[in-house]
């Protein structure tokens, strides 16, 4: 396999972007990435997207997006793995370049959630329709059960959960692209209304529109496009039981652990070598479970990480310096690419007020459903 680098990135801000359509969002992000690299050609496009068919009634995104980017004719296909669609698109692009099949590939993600769709019902399609959604459990409901299980098994508290939201909003307040550029207090989190107990409104990522895109090429060609390429050291994807009921320990995310093991092995590094990470905090409990499964803290000990400052900017391993899904926003199909962009900017020293000092190796973890799929990528500045 060839060594692969990211050489350019483009991203819309995240939020309720009523003036922008699904295709507008994609073109904005993709064109910015191409312009930044000065690329006059493109071999193929991957479009990460969870549910455009349900949100805006549009499928067949590959040719649509290639056409609107002015690149009709290139290979282009949509990649879907629920909220991990963006990470899965990045992995597809990585493998295509690594294999030698293509030299310049765009990995993108896009979601238009604010266009009138029943968001709760659409997101629930990432759960098992026949055994979960039919009985009335919502997506927040599934993560709430993961949280309840973590509290029972490890003594994690509602305050522990709230500290994740407070930290990620503190980071997101420094991110010009974030949907919520404001801090929240512990009291505000703990007094917000219940969505599914013990999760409250401020434990949940918002409903967002947005798109993100990165350009990949072989590392030995990267200097044609940028002075500061970021190498993809490893990529891992894994699955676990679709239904939460089928997991022996509902408080542990097996797919995250397996995807991380595969990425660490390919990269030749371990959790102790990672300087910062973007992890899939669709709900505050998810960040707690993910940092355990990634090996940043011992199993069952994720609850105190945000409270103790371990995962804050300036801590031992800053997590979600972008603000995470919680504060930056979570246009589901775009999230995996947006995470990679945060690491890309951090490793190039371009993260401005939220720059993590001395970061050389970063990790991005993107998750689908209630943890039934997970994608991990590890990056290094070169």
């Amino acid at each position: 396999m060839r060594e692969v680098a990211i050489v350019a990135a483009g991203m819309t801000r995240f939020g309720e972007l009523w003036r922008w359509s699904l295709r507008d969002l994609f073109v904005e992000a993709a064109a910015e990435a191409l312009k930044s690299a000065g690329a006059d050609h493109l071999d193929s496009i991957y479009v990460g997207n969870m549910a455009a068919g349900q949100f805006v009634g549009q499928e067949h995104l590959g040719p649509l997006m290639a056409d609107w980017l002015g690149r009709s004719g290139v290979a282009a296909v949509r990649v879907e793995s629920a909220c991990a669609s963006g990470g899965a698109a990045l992995r597809s692009a990585f493998l295509e370049v690594a294999s030698g099949a293509s030299d310049l590939v765009l990995a993108s993600g896009v979601e238009k959630m604010n266009d009138g769709g029943d968001v709760t019902a659409v997101l629930a399609t990432a759960a098992d329709q026949e055994t979960e959604a039919y009985h009335g459990v919502t997506f927040p409901g599934l993560y709430a059960m993961i949280a309840r299980s973590h509290m029972e098994a490890h003594g994690t508290t509602e305050e522990d959960l709230a500290h994740v939201a407070v930290k990620n909003h503190r980071h997101g307040a420094l991110n010009p692209k974030a949907q919520f550029r404001r801090e929240v207090t512990i009291e505000q989190v703990l007094s917000s209304s219940f969505v599914a107990e013990p999760l409250r409104l401020l434990h949940c990522s918002p409903v967002s529109d947005g798109a993100a895109a990165v350009l990949l090429c072989p590392l030995d060609q990267a200097r044609k496009y940028t002075d500061r390429p970021v190498k993809i050291l490893g990529s891992g994807l894994a699955t676990a039981s679709m239904a939460l009921a089928d997991r022996k320990d509902p408080s542990f995310l097996d797919a995250v652990q397996r995807s991380a093991e595969r990425a660490y092995k390919m990269a030749g590094v371990g959790p102790g070598d990672i300087h910062l990470a973007e992890v899939h905090d669709c709900f505050t409990i998810a960040e707690i479970c993910c940092i355990e499964a990634l090996g940043f803290v011992d199993r069952g000990r994720g609850g105190s990480a945000a409270r103790g400052g371990l995962t804050a900017l300036g801590g031992r391993i800053p997590v979600n310096t972008s603000g995470g899904l919680k504060s930056k926003g979570h246009p589901v199909g775009a999230t995996g690419i947006a995470q990679a962009i945060e690491i890309f900017e951090q490793l190039r020293g371009e993260a401005g007020a939220r720059q993590a000092q001395g970061a050389r190796i970063g990790l991005a973890q993107n998750m689908g459903g209630s943890g039934a799929s997970s994608v991990v990528h590890i990056f290094q500045g070169v």
Partner: protein
């Protein structure tokens, strides 16, 4: 929901029909053709006991459309004595009172009415064991 899609699910929803792996003994619910634990393909039909224990739970406050008027309601992952686990609403009690470890029985109930036609969706709900 088109009616074939509905009646295909009747064995699991009405009768709690599960499958036991002849190789490793794991009981899966709903029944499936391949054992998720060992990959074995010799599965035999078995029915679940109509009782179990809450593994984890929540109280849903923001509910999907058909259940809007029922919120807040409790949901739980319930483990039956056969070792199978299933998702169920917990009824006939204060939602706040449902906790992991609680003993429940599974009762055949109306779950929701779907669509404009008001198709009746049946299944099992958990209620506190008496």
């Amino acid at each position: 929901m088109p009616s074939p899609r509905y009646w295909r699910e009747i064995p699991a929803r009405y009768r709690l029909e599960a499958a036991r792996c002849r190789v490793c003994g794991k009981v899966s619910f709903p029944a499936r053709p391949v054992c998720p634990a060992c990959g074995g393909r010799e599965m035999e039909g078995t029915a679940l006991s109509r009782r179990g224990k809450v593994i984890t739970c929540t109280v849903v406050h923001i509910a999907p459309g058909p259940l809007l008027m029922e919120a807040p309601y409790a949901m739980a992952v319930v483990e039956t004595p056969e070792g199978a686990r299933l998702m169920a609403q917990v009824a006939d009690c204060e939602p706040d009172g449902v906790r992991p470890g609680m003993e429940v029985t599974l009762e055949f109930r109306l779950l929701s009415r779907e669509g404009r036609g008001g198709i009746l969706c049946y299944g099992h709900k958990a209620v506190p064991a008496r």
